[in-house]
């Protein structure tokens, strides 16, 4: 099946009465990728589902004003990333001082999560990733798990490729250190 280009979808969206059809095309094309991107940031399915829905509502609301300065894919990823990060911030704010050991909380939650099927190694890796600073975590997720190019990540996070490479390098070092006990 020939994949419809973003440009074709956006052109369709601008035609009166075709908005929903065009949006459904965007949803079909990007929903899964956006979901996995969000899921790797928020970890849990229920949270990822909420963030995904908010992301696409925002995309729907913003699509009329989308001027095409960036690629649709980049714009969509940027919204998904921002939504996921604000979700985490709100969650942390709500939890407040109730969390004594964030590492244990993530480990326990992942272990108890019926939608997490990783082995001990994968669990350990996810915990180490969750301990990274926000930007390093994002860069690592996109580079390591999603195999994205630095140029793409650069457009999404609005950061130079050089800075991204440095972030990724630091992230890998920290994870290595976390995985090998002294």
């Amino acid at each position: 099946m020939v994949e419809i280009s973003d440009h074709q979808i956006l052109t369709l969206f601008l035609q009166k009465g075709e908005e929903e059809k065009a949006f459904e095309m965007i949803l079909n094309k990007y929903q899964e990728r956006a979901y996995w991107h969000i899921r790797k940031i928020v970890f849990h399915h229920e949270d990822a589902n909420d963030v995904l829905q908010n992301t696409f509502i925002k995309i729907w609301n913003g699509l009329k004003g989308f001027r095409g300065d960036s690629e649709l894919f980049t714009w969509l990823y940027r919204i998904a990333t921002n939504e996921a990060l604000s979700f985490l911030k709100q969650k942390a704010k709500k939890a407040g001082s109730r969390i004594d050991d964030p590492e244990m909380t993530i480990a326990n939650r992942l272990q108890a999560d019926e939608y997490f099927d990783g082995d001990e190694i994968q669990l350990k890796l996810q915990i180490e990733v969750s301990k990274l600073p926000e930007r390093q975590k994002l860069v690592f997720q996109m580079k390591y798990f999603e195999d994205m190019k630095y140029e793409q990540i650069s457009a999404i996070l609005n950061t130079s490729v050089g800075a991204l490479k440095a972030s990724y390098h630091h992230a890998v070092k920290k994870i290595q250190k976390g995985l090998i006990p002294d």
């Binding site: 979901y35 589902n49 829905q53 669990l123």
Partner: protein, 167 residues
């Protein structure tokens, strides 16, 4: 522990396969799951929300339009009310007041009603005598002007100018 066994097996924590760096064998396999049929269901949910959002925004638009209509209706009613109030209450009321004032002035001046007193009254009240029959001039004031000889108005005007200069 399996974790350490794997570490020992690999000798190093990192492996490179086909130019791809991996921490462990299989660590890039997605450990996260989704409920069966999730994506189709989620798509339907999102589309439902979008349809609702569309309905909400058209309801909002309708509400705003209705509110604007109400506001412009109220503004128009207020304007009409104000004009009616001016024409049906303020103007007649003012005319009666003026008539009373003029009556009082005529009674007060009595036999002293002459060009000079009239001129100073006009100057005090700011009445123009350029055209006493001007529609703009209150009919009461016009009638007062009519009490004088029209030719004398020029004399009065001169007096008025002097009065105004003195002020």
């Amino acid at each position: 522990m399996a974790f350490f066994v794997k570490l020992i097996d690999y000798g190093s924590i990192m492996t490179v396969e086909n130019n791809n760096m991996n921490f462990f064998e299989g660590d890039k396999n997605n450990p996260f799951l989704v409920p069966p049929g999730y994506f189709a269901e989620s798509r339907a949910q999102i589309m439902q929300k979008i349809a609702k959002e569309g309905a909400i925004s058209s309801v909002k638009e309708f509400k705003i339009r209705t509110r604007l209509l109400w506001m412009s209706g109220i503004a128009a009613s207020l304007l009409i009310g104000l004009l009616l109030f001016q024409n049906m209450y303020l103007k007649p009321h003012r005319s009666i007041k003026l008539a009373q004032e003029i009556d009082w002035f005529i009674n007060y001046t009595g036999s002293d009603l002459n060009d000079v007193t009239l001129a100073s009254y006009f100057a005090d009240e700011g009445i123009s005598i350029e055209d006493p029959y001007d529609e703009v001039l209150d009919s009461e004031r016009a009638s007062l002007l009519e009490m004088t000889d029209y030719d004398e108005l020029f004399i009065i005007e001169e007096w008025m100018n002097i009065e105004n200069q003195n002020k």
